[in-house]
């Protein structure tokens, strides 16, 4: 009797798995198009430009996941180690190294503590307009109870700036292809 229930549940599970495969495959291309559109919309609010072309990055910083041209500036997708897991941000940097926008993309930090880095506007707005390196405890106030996560965000911002300014050679100065 108990095995029967397991078998019935197993059939239900198998059917659901097939449906998920089919739905995911069927919506894949639509999802990819929508993602590009949504991303360009978001970029437009961070650093307005006519287009956002992805540029090759050949620097040494393994945390730099992607770089997009936004006029004279750049929008950089940067990953850094947080307290629980990695934190991924989009950081818009103007040609002179000014931070123009930040959009958290992946934050898996502790709920109620480090997790606040993704939606605490007071914390994130501290970085906007900064033209120099940011350091928690100096020109940036950490979130209460989330020092590690706050420092991770600051590290990510500095790494993104360094891609544009090339000032921090230890974190990985960018090497643009000729003609960039």
């Amino acid at each position: 009797m108990s095995l029967n229930r397991w078998m019935k549940s197993g059939v239900v599970t198998a059917v659901c798995a097939v449906l998920l495969f089919a739905l995911s495959a069927g919506l894949r291309s639509t999802a990819a198009e929508k993602e590009i559109l949504a991303r360009e919309q978001m970029f437009g609010t961070m650093l307005p430009a006519d287009s956002y072309e992805e540029l090759p990055y050949e620097g040494d910083d393994a945390g730099i996941r992607a770089v997009y041209r936004a006029g004279e500036g750049r929008i950089i997708e940067v990953e850094t180690d947080g307290y629980v897991d990695s934190i991924v941000l989009w950081v818009a940097v103007d040609a002179d190294g000014t931070i123009k926008g930040i959009a958290p993309r992946k934050v898996s930090e502790t709920m109620g503590l480090g997790g606040r880095v993704k939606n605490d506007t007071g914390f994130l707005s501290q970085f906007l307009g900064k033209k120099t390196s940011v350091t928690v405890g100096q020109n940036i106030d950490a979130l209460t109870g989330a020092t590690v996560s706050s420092k991770a965000v600051a590290r990510a911002i500095n790494a993104a700036r360094a891609v544009v300014t090339g000032e921090d050679t230890e974190s990985g100065a960018s090497e643009w292809e000729e003609g960039e």
Binding site: S2, W6, T13, F21, S24, Y83, V84, D85, S108, M111
Partner: protein, 146 residues
Amino acid sequence: MSKKSGLHIQTCLAAVLGAYCLIGILLRVIAPLVMYPEPDLPMMTAISLVAMLIEAFTGREKFHNPLLCAVFSFLTFGLFLWGAGFVSGIRAAALTGLFGCLVFVVTGLMFDGMAQRAEAVKGTKGALLVNAFVIYLASQVLSGLI
């Protein structure tokens, strides 16, 4: 063995995990920039706990065969997360399934102990919710330590 009238634990797991995966697929189309929680340790713990709570509130079995729980949870986590595109490739799916199975079995062991005590005393099923939440918080802490 007493006759069971509630939902089977495997059905509950498939339903909860299926809902999580379905929402993830749909959000990729409707709102691609939404930060949907990834299937990490806390998320898998939460999914397991919700499934166990549903089973507990609908009529819990007194005994869960650990081997069958392990096998079915392995298949469920692996296939569903692969099918929904959270992992790609059979190897990643197998590893994810293994991880999910481990989380489900360990969470189940902790939950079973609480559920047995709750069954022994009337009016304490609400305590299961609180305890489940504490287990979830513990999984977050563990995730940070690993």
